[in-house]
Symmetry: C2
Subunit: 104 residues, 2 copies
């Protein structure tokens, strides 16, 4: 990502897991692979310690809605609610400005 794309959209997904982790890593990997194949996908950043943070970047609100409603993603969401997540929060954000540093 860089500023040539702005404005674009970020989906900030934060979550706290339950003690049930069976199947989670595999599903998370599948969903990341699938997300990358969607129209309007720009990028994704992900890290997890006590809280998990996944930020995905999208061209506009329409493609975010399409990804949310993707059949395989809906199944993953239901499994997440049933098994894996004690809590999650989703924020839909407009990326208005960005800057970077790269060590030379």
């Amino acid at each position: 990502m860089n500023s040539e794309f702005t404005p674009y959209y970020a989906v900030i997904f934060t979550s706290v897991q339950t003690e049930t982790t069976a199947g989670y890593a595999e599903m998370a990997e599948q969903m990341e692979t699938l997300a990358k194949q969607q129209k309007g996908f720009i990028g994704i950043d992900s890290a997890r310690n006590a809280v998990g943070i996944t930020v995905s970047y999208w061209k506009n609100l329409e493609v975010i809605q399409q990804w949310k409603q993707h059949t395989d993603h809906l199944i993953a969401q239901q499994k997440g609610i049933k098994n894996w997540y004690a809590h999650y929060n989703v924020k839909i954000c407009k990326v208005e400005r960005e800057y970077s540093f790269v060590k030379k």
Copy 2:
């Protein structure tokens, strides 16, 4: 955070560290404590694996600018550029919508 605050702003800070980690954890903790004391601060989420993601939430763009220019924070930023970060990216985002799930 919840939707009663929207719209508000998120600063997505992603980073990759150098091999120099001395002093980093202490400074990161100091900066988080200091950020929480700033006017207009709403919340913060942080996780690090290969990439570090810190998302801080703020009431408006003005308080984000004030935090960026805070003297102690400027010193931390300079040390980060000199010692700790191989790469970082900052995105200023307007949080337009959010929703949550909490297991019962």
